[in-house]
Symmetry: C2
Subunit: 379 residues, 2 copies
């Protein structure tokens, strides 16, 4: 193969210079999204600890930190390892057990590390690893506040876990974490759900307080209610992820406007031979097969400039645009930009993302925390 | 970060030494699958040109070629670039337009290159690039035989395209290609569909023959009918992909036995705090959100050793195992192996795959044709 230098893109190049499919980020929208969330957190005196799962890029994380984020949230020790290059305060919002503990303990010692967990086994394994490595690790006890994914829902269990952490130096009991991913779009039900959530958090913190385990940090929130996070009584820290790029799903639930969607997938029309449709070179391997929330027939993405045109079918490398709602008839070779349903999955499918200003490619960056840095078998 | 050498795996290591989620390939099954397909193609005198989309690894491609494959099929010029290290005869089963043409023409000159296409625009652009690069390119005209994705369905259009190719040196008209991805599981309908397909191919080749454009190569087939490819009248070449690894979907449609599924995703139970379920660290970013074909409630994967246990819900990094059909109650830290619904997507999500023999890790290989080798913006 020729070196990639052969194909390098010059700053200011137009979109036709890019090989498709390619993930484009509108830099104006990105910068606005980052600044808006930083302003929201500041206004409400909430610590902002963005989840890097959406962008997986140190350059975006550095921008979030420059705008006042107090730390980062990661899902895997591999992500934390990459992000430790730009951040000295990381929450692993995921229990670490097994070989993940070795990678966690290998993180730079100057890094303030917090782990969220929900089991005695996770406490004990983490404590053993921390003792062997002689490094302090802060711990959040994860509560289940209604999503029923992870977390404890009985406060006596939360108290028992918090106590176990406190008694397991060098672990440090630092607070509680929750993810109310079950609270959805509808505003009436949101009001009731947020009130119930606030009451649950208060009852948990009260119970912990009575046991002498009052949480210093109450860390939570989710994208559907992200702009109402301050209404959750007692919350001190938010961990939003999707807001940097947003997507069709975020817009549909009202957590952003359509013009806040910063990431699009640039694709090329490769076939128009079947009447009523056009085929683009972005299929499931570029867009992910992520449905809109429970809405049938909403497709796998929509065109940025023609939102009535949906990607209605996909193969691995083919996306079928349904032209039945439009008079538009594209030609083979024409470029389109697809707003994906779920941007976190799209980013996870790319090694490089291109930053565009209008129709010009301004820069690019590596999705450097993508992948799991898996070791090879070597004798 | 520490160098990856720190985490290197020794050959013969047990599965608990691997950081999860990790893609494991059962080497006995892989070798059997490769040999079986090679034997089938040989028995029926069909040229075997495997599609590398499933494994995306030069080491597996080399094994396919060693077993008698006559060449490889790729979906993108980037894949073809990687595969050119082990193969000198590659079919790009995808029209190349735009910047993809530059990458295609940069492939090693010793490589015999074939492109499948379905439009005059694709012929003209390819011819222009081939003339500028002064290299011959073989062309298949793509037929739509009922899937309605790409391809021409009127034989006069096929004739016009074939003639256009023939008259566009250094392009060489080499034959026709088709992908009958619409023919599904049910055996009764398969009989009728295969008969209809054979008749369609015969009518196309007859029409092309009358125009002096008889195809030398008739290239086609699909996984649901892969073991009946020889029944398609006139076919000379098959391009199967999934057979190397297989998956739940392949087994469900009867194109393999459950014990032919070679790839599993190793995952760790990370939470059991919510009653009736266990959470593993393989979610949509490890398994892909690929449904079984039109079957609701069949989940996103099933455990290898407990096929009644399904991954019924997923977040990006969480997979929820429904325990309601079982008395099995796993502990945090326990390892499980998930047979995915659609293995091609799983491989696309991994940089490294581990080859196991029984419960021992024997080797690993890079998914070296994953990603799109995208250039950076450099001034």
């Amino acid at each position: 193969m020729l070196s990639m230098t052969f194909f390098a893109i010059a700053p200011g190049a137009g979109l036709p210079g890019l090989e498709t499919p390619a993930a484009l980020v509108d830099l104006d929208r990105l910068e606005r999204n980052i600044a808006r969330m930083a302003s929201y957190a500041r206004t409400h005196s909430l610590a902002l600890r963005p989840h890097i799962k959406t962008h997986k890029a140190t350059t975006i994380a550095a921008s979030q930190l420059a705008h006042g984020a107090t730390g980062l949230t990661c899902a895997t020790p591999a992500e934390a390892g990459v992000m430790s290059a730009v951040c000295d305060d990381i929450l692993l919002a995921y229990p670490a057990v097994g070989p993940k503990l070795a990678r966690l303990m290998a993180l730079p010692r100057a890094l303030s590390l917090t782990v969220a967990l929900d089991s005695a086994k996770a406490v004990d394994d983490l404590a053993r690893a921390a003792r062997a490595a002689d490094r302090p690790v802060r711990v959040f006890v994860e509560l289940d506040v209604g999503m029923h994914r992870v977390g404890v829902s009985a406060w006596d269990e939360a108290i028992a876990l918090a106590r176990r952490v406190r008694d397991s130096a060098p672990l440090e009991y630092a607070g509680i974490a929750f993810y109310p991913g079950h609270i959805r779009t509808d505003l009436d039900s949101q009001d009731a759900a947020l009130a119930a959530l606030g009451a649950a958090i208060k009852s948990a913190t009260d119970a912990l307080g009575r046991a002498g385990l009052a949480p210093k940090v109450v860390s939570g929130g989710s994208t559907p209610t992200v702009w109402r996070t301050h209404e959750i009584g007692g919350i001190t820290e938010m961990r939003p992820g999707t807001y940097v790029y947003n997507d069709r799903g975020t817009a549909e639930i009202g957590a952003c406007a359509p013009e806040d969607c910063a990431l699009t997938v640039l694709a090329t029309v490769v076939s128009t031979s079947v009447p009523g449709q056009a085929v683009i070179d972005a299929g499931a391997k570029a867009l992910g097969r992520e449905p809109m929330r429970g809405v049938e027939g909403e497709g796998w993405g929509a065109l940025l400039d023609r939102p009535e045109i949906l990607v209605t079918r996909m193969s691995e490398e083919h996306g079928i645009l349904d032209l039945s709602r439009s008079d538009w008839r594209p030609s083979v070779g024409e470029l389109v930009r697809v707003v994906p349903n779920h941007v976190c999955i799209v980013v996870h499918l790319n090694d490089v993302v291109y930053g565009v200003r209008g129709e010009r490619v301004e820069k690019s960056w590596r999705v450097d925390a993508r992948g799991r840095s898996q070791p090879m078998v070597t004798s």
